[in-house]
C-alpha cells in the first residue's frame, strides 16, 4: 500500500508538481492510442453467458406444456411483488398448472429469487436484456411471452445445477 506522505516529506521534485503533471499527461496520451473497449450496441450485441440474469421466463417442456405447478412460491418470495399466479387443475398426472402467470416487468428487479426458490426449475432467468415497452399494459408479460422452449435455456439450467 502506498504510504501517505505529508507536504513536509515531499522532495523538491514532488513540490514543483510539474513533473507529475507531465507524467499524467503522458498516461492519457498513451491511452488515446490504445484499443477502444466500446461495444457499439445496435450493431454489435452483448452475448451473455449462462451466469447472466436477464428477464425471467417460464420453462416450456418438449411436449409444449409448462413445467410450473403453480405452487406460488415465486410470487410469494418476489420482493417487488411482480409475479401474479392463478392456479388451475387438470386430469393429467401432473395435476396443477398456472392458468394465468403474469410478471409485471416494470416491477421486476431481476434479483433471481423466483428462480432460486422454484422447486421444479420451472422459472429461470433468460439471457434477454432488450426489454422495452411504450405503455404500462405492455409491461405485464403473460404466459404467451414467458413460455420459452427448454432448448433455449440449457445453458442457464446447467449453470444453476453447477451451483447447487
Amino acid at each position: 500500500m502506498a504510504v501517505k506522505k505529508r507536504m513536509k516529506d515531499f522532495t523538491l521534485m514532488e513540490k514543483i508538481y510539474l513533473p507529475s503533471i507531465v507524467a499524467g499527461l503522458g498516461i492519457t496520451l498513451q491511452n488515446m492510442f490504445k484499443p477502444k473497449y466500446t461495444m457499439e450496441y445496435p450493431e454489435v450485441k452483448f452475448m451473455p453467458s449462462g451466469h447472466y440474469r436477464g428477464r425471467p421466463v417460464l420453462v416450456q417442456e418438449e411436449d409444449g406444456g409448462e413445467r410450473c405447478v403453480a405452487c406460488g412460491l415465486c410470487s410469494r418470495v418476489c420482493p417487488a411483488l411482480a409475479i401474479d399466479i392463478q392456479a388451475a387443475e387438470t386430469e393429467k398426472e401432473k395435476e396443477r398448472y398456472p392458468e394465468r402467470f403474469e410478471i409485471n416487468m416494470l416491477r421486476c428487479i431481476f434479483c433471481g429469487l423466483c428462480e432460486e426458490v422454484c422447486p421444479e426449475e420451472a422459472i429461470v432467468m433468460s439471457k434477454e436484456y432488450e426489454i422495452a415497452f411504450t405503455n404500462r399494459q405492455d409491461a405485464i408479460y403473460g404466459k404467451d411471452k414467458l413460455l420459452t422452449p427448454i432448448a433455449d435455456l440449457q445453458e442457464r439450467i446447467e449453470f444453476l445445477r453447477g451451483n447447487k
Binding site: I21, T28, L29, N31, P35, K36, T38
Partner: protein
Amino acid sequence: MESLIIAGIALVKVLILANIILLTVSYLVYFERKISAWAQSRVGPNRVGYAGLLQPFADVFKLLLKEDIVPEQANKTIHTLAPFLALFVAFTTYAVIPWGPDVTIFGRVIELSVVPNINAGILYVLALTSIGVYAITLSGWSSGSKYSLLGGVRASAQMISYEISMGFSVAGVLIFSQSLLPSEIVKSQSGLMWNAFLQPIGFITFVTAAFAETNRLPFDLPEAEPELVGGFHTEYSSMKFAAFFLAEYANMMIASALIVTLYLGGWQVPYLEKLGLSAGWEAIIQVAAFFAKLVFLMFFFIWVRWSIPRFRYDQLMDIGWKVMFPLALLNVIWAAVLAMLIK
C-alpha cells in the same frame, strides 16, 4: 472611395474571423468529447454524420428546442444579460490578435488582424478578459440560487488572484518587445527567440493563469460539477446555457491565441526566410503555422482537462498567491536582466 475600401476590407476580415471562430468553437466541443473518449478508451460521438462530425449542429439544435427557464428568484434583466456579456467578451477579444504577416494584395498592404494598430493591444485583451469575470459573477448572483452564487463568488476570487500573475507574466514579454502592439510582440520573437524559450518561468505562469482565466480544469472551480451542480450556470437552460458554453470554448481559443502570440512566436516560422520562397507562399505558410500552433494549444487545453484532477479551493488560492505571484515577479526580473544582456 478610399474609406469605403478600407471599411470593406475590415468587414471581410471580421466575417472571415467570426466564421472561423464559430466553426472552431463548435468543433472544439466535438473534439473535447472525442478526446475525452479516446483518453478513456472509448469511441465517443460517432452517430450523427460521418464519424459524428455533425454532432455539434445536432447539439445546438437540441439546445434551441429546449425550454428557456428563468427561476422565480432570479433578477430577470441581469440573468438574461449575463450570458450575452460572456459572448460579447469572447468574440471581441480576437480583434487585436494578428494571425498572419502583412500581405500585399492588388498593391494594397493588408494586416491580417481585424484591428491591427491599437497601440494598447495587449491591455485591450487584458481589460476585456477582466470584463468576462462580470458575466460569470453576475450570472451567479442574479440566479437566486446558492450554488450559482458560490460559483460566481469563486469565479471572482479566482480571477483576481490569477489576473495578477498573468499581468506580471505579460510584463516580461513587454520588456522584450518594448511595445504593446501584438504585431510588434510577434516580430520581436523572430527566429528561435520565442519568449517561451527565453523566459520559461513566465511561460509556465502565463499558461497556468490562462487555464484559471478560462475556467478550465484543473481550475474549473466556478463550475465544479460535483460540488456546485454546474456552479454559475446551474440555473441556465436552452440558448442561454449554450451562450455560456460557446463563450467558454471561445475563451479557450482566445487563451490559446494569446499564448501563441505572446510566447510561441505568433505566425512566425523559425528560419523560413532562408528557404527563399515567394512572398505569397511565405504568407500562406505563416498563417498556417499560426493556426497549427493554435490547434495544438487547444488540444493541450483539452488534454490537460482529461488528465489532471481539480484543485481544492484553498489549494487554488495558495498556488495563486504564494507560488504563481512570486514566480511571475521573478520572471520580470529575469526578463529585465536578459534584455540588458542581449540588447
